[in-house]
Symmetry: C2
Subunit: 348 residues, 2 copies
């Protein structure tokens, strides 16, 4: 929320489209053996493969998906890659390439675009994916980022949303609700800052949940872990809209019901303490908060012994017959129907 | 430019994101055998292939790339697919799938989005490509479309921009300049309409060039034709920014020069007559106009006999040594240096 007024500002129109593309992509190196040709021709070329190809795309719009008053551009670049890689991992695949298209208004100088691409580059290096193409244009308002991720998966390993069976266990990676609460803290600090710009926020007590919001990590490790454990999920999805909305996708596509146990939902201590401070129910935050980018999957009950002791994985419930509906079993042992209350981009 | 005030208007927020996606994609059917899974999971899944994969993406922004006061939404949908397929064909490949992401402000009712997707669907059916994914979100202003196209090419058939050799012939498909002139006619009619909304424009004399602007066709037929003729281009690019800019890309990536002969540039009679009417030089329009989506390629001089009589192809010049520069030979037999004056999205 603090801006350096002396920072250099280079106008994008000085460079032109091709100059800008050259400038921002010169630091990117290709690492994947499957990338035959990256940026610089009419299309990128990927090597033939005995594996299946995964394709996923997401669009992030300023003022709808992010607020630059507390989202640094470097983090935005990183996160825009994460939300796409997360979808590839949710198919039990490995991500290999991305394309990134941006539309920016002329209020952004070159240095802002460099920051954005520094985050994209960090994500590429950390996750071992190649930037192979994209488009760079102007917008009449704000900034917009469209990322497409390309991945690979063995035909026998691909996991859809539709394979969950009655009695399967429902498992989540990591913990839930942090990203949503981090956003609440950032929104509160933004309002404080608007009243008193000299106020220096003390965010030490919220470092984990703010990082979950600003710099989420896609769970590249989970498909690998599952392979090592000898477990193939029956269904999988990434948690972008909250546990409730995602399990409902799995249930409706698998034509099954589910029971989620409230006391099993994994929550970080900082999520619990911040929920108390904000007087919000932590279960609601986990069910409906969104943006955690953890993986939600189902496994056969026969695989329970393989996953039960793993610190990355938590069994939160089980699949039922479709007729039993989709329910949350509360701490008071009451069953209440799950509702999708995930954040809906079209309602904003 | 005439709006039916009585048309139905359904608010997008009534449907929600998933409702909208279901509504607009239910009419799309999958035709490609390579599409294992289309819309409806975290990522689309494409079959393994012995061919290389081509990936290309373009972003179209209202107020930058198109003006809805004369671009019907159905045409916009069609064109947004064409500009991407054109890039796949420019690699000498075949297009198989697309993803389409849109951001729309709430000024657009559902019926507008249906029109847009009707154009996308028509393009998919006409060109035999599958819509396999995308993202649908709101924007704070206007409409924005991001399309990614996925194609296939045999490793030995792929054509880059970088393979042109001294003495190669320079060839274009179709004719040039029409799309730019069509835009000039539409801009003029828009201004007339603003002065007198009751004026009914008579556009019969401009039907070809207006269609070139509003409903361009990507040259799917050219890679097929070249294969039938037994010709593999040494370099190829699609003409989105004008002949001048595109041949300069080929020359710089191939490290060669070129001579383009003014009197060889293929022009439709309607382009010539409209240039006279607007008092613009038709050569400048072909060199710098852009949006024609024809293919520009180079072939060995040994292939001349195979292409010379083909009505779809015109030899417009030849490749030279790099030291000779990139030149236009005028009708008066003067050599002038080519300059890239293609339309630059970042200058607007």
């Amino acid at each position: 929320m603090l801006e350096d007024k002396n920072q250099a500002r280079t106008s994008l129109s000085e460079l032109g489209e091709f100059g800008l593309i050259n400038h921002i992509t010169k630091h990117f190196t290709l690492k994947q053996t499957s990338t035959v040709k990256g940026i610089g021709d009419d299309a990128a070329v990927l090597e033939a493969s005995e594996q299946q190809t995964l394709i996923t795309t997401d669009l992030l719009v300023e003022g709808v998906h992010f607020d630059l008053s507390y989202m640094p551009l470097k983090h935005l670049g990183y996160k825009s890659v994460m939300v796409n890689l997360s979808d590839v991992y949710a198919m039990n695949g490995s991500a290999e390439q991305i394309t990134v298209s941006i539309a920016v208004s002329n209020r952004f100088p070159l240095e802002a675009i460099e920051e954005l691409y520094a985050g994209i580059q960090l994500a590429c290096e950390t996750y071992g994916v190649d930037l192979i193409g994209g488009d760079t244009t102007s917008s009449t308002k704000g900034i917009l980022i469209s990322v497409t991720a390309i991945g690979k998966v063995n035909k026998e390993d691909v996991v859809y949303r539709s394979g969950a069976k009655d009695t399967d266990l429902i498992v989540v990676s990591g913990d839930l609700g942090g990203a949503y609460l981090g956003l609440q803290v950032l929104e509160r600090e933004k309002q404080v800052f608007q009243v008193n710009p000299n106020n220096q926020p003390d965010l030490d007590n919220y470092s984990y949940i703010i990082e979950r919001q600003l710099k989420p990590e896609a769970r590249k490790d989970i498909p690998k872990l599952l392979q090592e454990l000898g477990v193939k999920p029956t269904a999988m999805i990434d948690i972008s809209d909250g546990l409730s909305s995602e399990i409902m996708h799995i249930c409706s596509q698998s034509k099954v019901g589910c029971k989620i146990y409230e006391d099993k939902i994994p929550l970080d201590p900082q999520v619990i303490s911040t929920c108390e401070e904000f007087d919000i129910d932590s279960t609601m935050v986990a069910l409906s908060g969104g943006e955690d980018y953890e993986l939600l999957f189902t496994v056969s009950i026969d695989d329970y012994d393989k996953i039960k002791a793993n610190p990355h994985l938590t069994v939160v419930g089980h699949i039922t017959e479709q007729a039993a509906g989709m329910n949350l079993v509360t701490r008071a042992n009451q069953e209440i129907e799950l509702k999708a209350q995930g954040w809906n981009a079209l309602q904003s």
